[in-house]
Symmetry: C2
Subunit: 200 residues, 2 copies
Amino acid sequence: MEISTEEKILNAAREVFTQKGFAAARMQEIADKAGINKGLLHYYFRSKNKLFHAVFYEVFDQFSLRINEVFGADLPLFEKIEAFVDQYMDTLIANPALPSFMINELNQKGEAFVKELMSRKTKPNPLPLIGQIQMEVQAGRIRAVNPFHLVLNMLSLCAFPFIARPLFQGIAQVDDETYLKLMESRRQEIIDFIHNAIRA
Amino acid sequence: MEISTEEKILNAAREVFTQKGFAAARMQEIADKAGINKGLLHYYFRSKNKLFHAVFYEVFDQFSLRINEVFGADLPLFEKIEAFVDQYMDTLIANPALPSFMINELNQKGEAFVKELMSRKTKPNPLPLIGQIQMEVQAGRIRAVNPFHLVLNMLSLCAFPFIARPLFQGIAQVDDETYLKLMESRRQEIIDFIHNAIRA
DNA sequence: GTCTATAGGTAGATAGAC
DNA sequence: GTCTATCTACCTATAGAC
């Protein structure tokens, strides 16, 4: 089973860009990590910017697909929330650096980049979930929460501890392993927290 | 009322560093924004790294002081949580770029930098709040939540929407003004959410 | 303290041999 | 397709005049 050069470059680039961010990433380091020559990066992707876009789109699409799969699933609300937290936490535990990377670059690349992203076919679509929440509220089965904020809350509770991890880990004075265990125990904590917060 | 050159530099540096991040920030841009010559930056702060540290420490200390003031206040738990959300959201609405800046640089500067930060006298201290939560749980006045996670939840619910703002704003297709209004309405939403989540 | 000029180093990108 | 060598631009930092 062979890995194409293009694949090797993308893998190395993803690693370096996610760790260092666009500005601090070095083409030389990407080439070294991919085990190829620096010139080849330009042969395949022309410029650092284009290579970055390729990496970012790949990550973004994968993220969107996973999110939308859960958001659009045919499940009762509570089960869907539980499925979301479980699946999202899995993703984050496996790739702890991903959320800060995405958010970071979106903050810096400016409005044009965001617009370009949002014109793609694959993008996060929270509408099915928002609609479902509205129906539950109208039926009086959950408290009268604002659906937009509830979705925001779900995402915040899962993602923020990974994004702010260096700060929390520094304050709590725990090592990497302990912090990841805390994140494991956090799943159930989040599910219970949301459940109690919205029950009628 | 005169502003010293050092002050002018720090103000300009804070602006540029928070917007662009360390790696993408340019000494020339800082000098321009401060209305002084590039050489003066080095006269006052020797290097880009030292200037960055000066800015970061200033921001970090201010953040810690505010947080600790609320965490250590002499208030019943629910009032303290409400005070925290109010004050924290105020800070974030006034400086929307601050959290991503801090988190971003903490992610990239590495463990040594975090250790250095945590050895400072001024740093966030959640212990008073955590102790208070434990007491309320033991007294049966709130649900049996994990205090660490509850504090994490409070911070997550407030800060994340500002950090991930470009993404959300892109998805929700709203302009800056509308998004800030959403954040205003979010205060009460968060307070209600937490209140319901932990009430006995 | 503040400026101009420039040194010194580095990074992205290209040219051209193989 | 892959490599080596090099160009060009830019950026931090310093030297030195005022």
